[in-house]
Amino acid sequence: MPAEKGALQIAGVTFGSRLLVGTGKFPSPQIMAQALEASGTELVTAALRRVDLKNPKDPTLSHLDLKKYRLLPNTSGARDALEAVRLARLARGVTGNNWIKLEVTPEPNYLLPDPVETLAAAKILVKEGFVVLPYMNADPILALHLAEAGCATVMPLAAPIGSARGVRARDQIQIIIEQATVPVVVDAGLGLPSHAAEAIEMGADAVLVNTAIAIADDPVQMAVAFKLGVEAGELARRAGAADTSATARASSPAAGYLRKGN
C-alpha cells in the first residue's frame, strides 16, 4: 500500500496539489486562467512552440500568474532529441527556469513519445543541469532507465494523448509505480475525473490533465471535478480501500490470528 506517501515532491519542491494542468487547447486564455485557478494546481505546463517567451503580451503567458504556479515549459512538437534539447536551452536562456517537461513525439498523429530519443535527450539535459520530467510510454524498463539517467519524475501515458480513454496502460503503469524511485506522474489520455482518481488510487504520485479540461463544455467546472477526483483518489488511498490491495490482508481477527503462523 502506498498510503504512507506525503505531499507531492519533485526535485525537492513540495506541491500542495497532485494535479498538473496543461495550458493548450482552451477556447480562450481567460478561460484557461479561470480553469487553472479552479483546479487548485500549482504546476502548469506550456508548449514552447505556442508561447513567445520574449513577448510579455503573449496570450498564454500574460494570463499565467507565475506567483501562483510553477511553470513547466514543454518541448511538445520536438521530433528528436536534438530539437528537444534546443527548445529546452532556449526556454532556460530566456526565463532562467531549468525545469523542462521533455516531450519527443516524432509521429504527428498519435503523438506517442519516442523512447530512444527521449532517453538520449534526458541524458543530455540532466548533464546540463535541467530538472527533467519526461513524457514516456508506459514502459517499466524505460522508466528505470530515465530515473537512472537522473530524471526528476517519470510521466507515463495512460492512453494516447487527447484520447480521453482513461488508464488503458494500467498493468504497465502499476509496475512502474511499484518500481519507482522518483515520482510517477500519469500523463495523457485521462478523460474523466474518475480516470484521475483511478491513477492516484493505484499509487501514482500525480496526474497531468489538459484536453479533458480544456475542451469540456465548461472547462472551469471540469477543472473543479478533476481537483475533486484527484483528492478522492488520494483519500481512498489513505483510507486503504478494502478490495484493491494486491496482497492479502486480514479480514477478520481469526484470519489475522492464522496468518501469524500459529
Partner: protein, 370 residues
Amino acid sequence: MGFSEIIDTIDRPSISRAIAQTAPERIKALLAQERIQDLELPLLFSPAAADLFESIADKASSITAHRFGRVVNLYAPLYLSNHCVNNCLYCGFARRNKTRRVALSAREALAEAQILLDEGFRHLLLVTGEAPRAYALEQLEEVVRGLAGRFASIGIEVFPMNQPGYSRLAEAGVDNLTLYQETYDRETYARCHDGPKADFDARLAAIEAGGKVGFRTLGLGALLGLAPWREEVVMLVRHGRYLSKHFWRTKISFSFPRLRPAVGGFVPPFPVDDREFAQLIVGLRLAMPDAEIVLSTREPAALRDALIPFGVTRMSAGSKTNPGGYRDPEGAGRQFDVHDERSPQEVARAIEQAGREPVWKDFDRAFLQE
C-alpha cells in the same frame, strides 16, 4: 511505388458507383466506427451522407476538439512573383493572361512581410508562379533566409522541385510544403494544364521529394470545380493516407479551394455549393482525424465562420493574392479575388466568437536552429 503508380490501381468507376448507391443505413453504421477504411471513403462523401450531415458534423466537431483543441491557427500568404510559364485554365497567373507581372526583390519581400508581422502573423506561406527565369530558386532561398529569423514558421507554395531543391529551402528555413495536385483525374488534369505543369506524374513525385526531405507538413489540395468533387475528395484522402504512411514523421494538411473568378474568365464545370462544401469538410475530418484542414479567404466570411467548429484548424486572413499587394493592393495582377475581405483582427474576433482561440504562433524556429 509512388502514388502515381498507386493511383492507376484505384478503381475509380467503383468509387463513383459506391458514391451513387450508398444507403443512409450504411452511413449510420459508419458513424459508429472508429476508423474509416479506404473502401468506405466514398460513403462519407455520398449524397446519402448529406442527409445525415448533422450527425457527421457532430462527430467531426468532437474529433477536432480532441485532436486540436478549441483553437484555430492563423497564417498569411505572401506572394513573391506572379510570373508563370504555365497556362492553367483557371489561374489568374496563366501566361496567356495580360496582367501586370511583378517579381519582388528580397528587400521588397521583407517590406511586405513586415506588414504581416505588424498585423501579428508568425506563420507565413510564400507563394510564386512557375517561371525559373523570372523567379529562380536562388531568389526564393534568399527571401527565406531573410525571413527565417522573424517568423515562427515558413511554408512554401511554389513551383515543384526535386529533392536537392527542397533540401536547400529546408536548410534556409522552410518547414512546410504545399503542392496541390489540383485534380486527381488524369484527363481533367491534361485538359486544364499546359507547360511544365502538364506532367501529372512529375507533380506527384515532387511532393514525395518534399516528404523525403522531411518537411514537417505536406499540404495537399484539389481545386474544387474542375471535376466531380466527391470522387476528387476520395482520391485526395487516399493521397493523404499514402503520404502519411510513407513519411510517418510528416503531418498532412488539406486545402480544397473552390475556384473563384480570376483573370481569363474561367467557369468551373463542376461547381460545389456551400452545403456540399460543408459535407466535404466534416467528411474529411472523419476520414483523417489528425490532418490539418485549411480554409482560405477564397471562401466568404459567413461560411468561414460557420465552418470553424467542424474541422477547420488553419485559416488565412487579410490575404492579398498579388505580389506587393500588402503595400499596393492594385499594383500587380492577382491569382484570384479573395471573398473574405476582413482584416486579420476581424477574423481573429470572429474565431473568438465561435468559441475558439485564434493562435498566431504554433511553431518555433528553435526546433530547427540553435
